[in-house]
Amino acid sequence: MNKQELLPILRIDELSVSFGTASVVKGLSFDVFPGRTTAVVGESGSGKSVMSMSIMRLADMTGASFPSGRILFSSGAGEGIDLLKCDQEAMRRIRGKEIAMIFQEPMTSLNPVFTIGDQLCEVLILHEKRSRADAMVEAERLLALVRLPDARALLARYPHQLSGGMRQRVMIAMALACRPKLLIADEPTTALDVTVQAEILNIMKDLQAELGMAMIFITHDMGVVAEMADDVVVMWQGEKVEAGPVEEIFTCPKHPYTRMLLSAVPKLGAMQGFTHPRRTPLTVLRNGELVQEGDDRQQDTADYTVPPLLRVEDLSIQFDVKKSFWGRTTHRNFAVSQVGFEIYPGETLALVGESGSGKSTIGRTIQQLQESANGEVWFDGKPMSKMKLAERQRLRREVQYIFQDPFASLDPRRTVGDSIAEPILTHGLLDRGTPTRRRVGELLERVGLSADMASRYPHEFSGGQRQRVCIARALASRPRLIIADEALSALDVSVQAQVINLFMDLQREEGLAYLFISHDMAVVEKMSHRVAVLYLGQIMEIGKRADVFERTAHPYTQRLLSAVPLADPSARRQRVALTGEIPSSIHPVGAPPALNPLREIASGHFIAQERV
């Protein structure tokens, strides 16, 4: 297909969008062609979402104005109509019918109080003037189209009864209900597990081919771009910095920003042949020029000669989730079952797994945030169950925890200085006043911020800066182990790359051990000495990073790896067919899940008895 022969279905022409006096999108122009996917790439704040909302004219509701530009939409031949000149009434006839949209959060995109059927029918009744009964039949067909099993029963169900992946498929069905000419997908898979993401992307691609519609695919994930896009538009600070066919962008990016973005993306398989984690220099954009920062070195910090710092033995954690009328527990969430591992000083152990695999639960149990665990956790050779209160308190100093969402984990009403000083004062490490203040300043500088930022509030920082503050807080009590619970997943790739380096530098300088909890295989590959793969609360595979990633022995690990989209359009592969959703770890009390004992297949490389 040669796009030059086609007329664009959507032409964005010198579009500017402002909120009050702030200009968010500046002079943006690009075309979208029928049957093709245009990916709009950019980090947070690049204006890509505002752009998509402007096409729908939904940005009006949040107070946007359009000082200049045109958005020409043509459903047939000719120039088409300028959407910016349409009134809301006219837009209403276009929305959902000519142009449809899918949003990022499948968990909140569906109205919780209406059934799936109701919400699907609403579009059909509105735009196609169908009768309700007729609409229901069509809705069922649409659900089947997005490969949802048992579509008829699904119509009567409510959103909360569906998993995230299922909801996103319902959203796709709803968007495609009236066979729109253009589909705008705003980060549709960002919130999903990698295996579910793979399936959703497959469905979208298939349906696009079937319906011949154009698609604007907004994402920050270069892997997804490589997987999905025909054309790419790169946005940075409200402007288009580069546009072109996908291969061109990936093979010879012209703009420094694009180059920086691509260099920051961790690539799965890039560690092939290294034994230790590797700290790579950071490509940063400085005054429009690309500069390499920091050294390139292997992270040989793990000390296996001494006893392990932390040992987890047969850890099992269960929650009661359902009770009978008489208060007896009938169902339990077997969140973690018989998990064991150890972490040596200076070592990074990664716990990887999809949602519901129990990885965060393990972290929280070690940090004593979670009660009701069986098994034992040894720290520094001492079992936690035998520790006195004071020792447990000391443990809270030596083990620190970093959460996924840096904004949520800082008290919004306290300055970051107060937050960083809190562990120091709680454990009485320094005197209140000048010594503490000086130390807080040092810590801020240590994580790449400036000391005078101590008197600011969290909301005055960007996401990456906040995570640095959290790291500074974690460092404040001079810990020996840091549990990083998805600490990188909320960050933009360029920031993520910086923070990865910060983690590695700190490990080297302070001799820290990390328990690195993540779902991102590429990041894990880059950072960890050893890796444990979790599935439904059990370890499927554990071993050296090279063993797990290069000599993958367990089918679940293989599946996980194959689902990761590669940031390389030439390497589009046919995936391992994945069906269904991740099963639940909730079981009736009398019928606990089967345990799969580990078996050593090579030195230090264990896999579970096959089950998946």
Binding site: R92, A100, N111
Partner: protein
């Protein structure tokens, strides 16, 4: 869901029993009804008082009296008033519908005004009409209700002679009391609707509804309002309870033959059976409404219903 309702029901029964005990004890601390009844007599002896007490059944031990009153509540035989011996049922049969209908009318007025205003304010957040609605709603909170009521009477009954100044007789007589109560409730309700609406309007599914091409009216009144319903129902339920307890003043100003008037007179007259019945019936109503609110959650919110 059923388990949940059964549990709430058990709690409700506990609350009712506790309340009844408190009420029974408290009432007996208000004073001796026999003295009240004999107040006008010139020579009254201790024997006379004992005779009157015996006639009222006050010579029984407290526990017997208390259990009798509970039994009366269950069998809906509330005994006789100490004043004139009128059966309490007769009084309550008239007063309860009067109070309930006024309370419903007030809630109706308030809800009918505050939902559109609150939604309007939320949509126009920060702009002129929002400020105007907020200040206007505060005005309603700034007058004592009896004063507002008197002003309305002065205007609509005495000057214009449009509405009857008191009593319960037909639709017209509902207007002023319901509006007076309604205005005060509206002040808080507008703010509440506005806040919950703002939360809801920020939800992704509202954007989705708009992206479907639904009209703004449908987005606000179908998709958004239905989601606001849960916090609103909770609050309105609580408010209705408060309304039943706070309606005394309005009933007095408008000479409304309701439970408040009944209770007010009963306290003055130390009329235990009437006072106890009124408080207990209102308490039962409040507890019942809270129970209904819990059940209403389920109807409105499928997340609870299908659990």
């Amino acid at each position: 869901m059923t388990g949940f309702i059964v549990k709430r029901f058990a709690q409700a029964i506990f609350v009712v029993i506790a309340v009844s005990l408190i009420v029974a004890v408290a009432i007996r601390m208000t004073g001796d009804p026999a003295l009240m009844i004999a107040q006008g007599a010139t020579n009254i002896t201790q024997a006379d008082l004992d005779r009157i007490r015996e006639g009222l059944g006050l010579n029984q031990p407290f526990l017997v009296q208390y259990l009798d009153s509970l039994r009366g509540l269950v069998t809906w035989d509330l005994g006789n008033s100490f004043v004139g011996g009128t059966p309490v049922n007769l009084l309550v049969d008239k007063a309860l519908p009067a109070t309930l209908s006024l309370a419903f009318a007030s809630m109706f007025v308030s809800i009918a005004v505050s939902i559109p205003l609150g939604i309007r304010a939320a949509v126009a957040r920060g702009r002129g009409s929002d400020q105007l609605i907020r200040i206007f709603s505060l005005l309603g909170l700034s007058f004592p209700n009896f004063w507002l009521a008197t002003m309305l009477v002065l205007l609509f009954s005495i000057t214009l002679k449009w509405l009857p100044p008191s009593g319960m007789s037909g639709f017209a007589s509902f207007i002023m009391p319901a509006v007076t109560m309604g205005v005060i409730l509206t002040a808080t309700n507008v703010r509440l609707v506005r806040t919950t609406m703002l939360d809801t309007l920020n939800s992704q599914y509202i954007m989705v509804a708009r992206a479907k091409g639904l009209s703004e009216r449908k987005v606000l009144y179908k998709h958004a309002l239905r989601n606001c319903a849960i916090p609103l129902i909770t609050y309105f339920g609580l408010q209705f309870g408060g309304l039943l307890g706070g309606i005394v003043v309005i009933e007095r100003v408008f000479n409304w033959p309701g439970m408040g008037t009944l209770a007010f007179d009963a306290v003055a007259a130390r009329d235990y059976p009437v006072l106890q019945s009124v408080i207990m019936i209102l308490a039962l109503l409040i507890v019942g409404i809270n129970l209904l609110v819990d059940i209403a959650y389920g109807i409105v919110d499928p997340r609870i219903r299908t659990k």
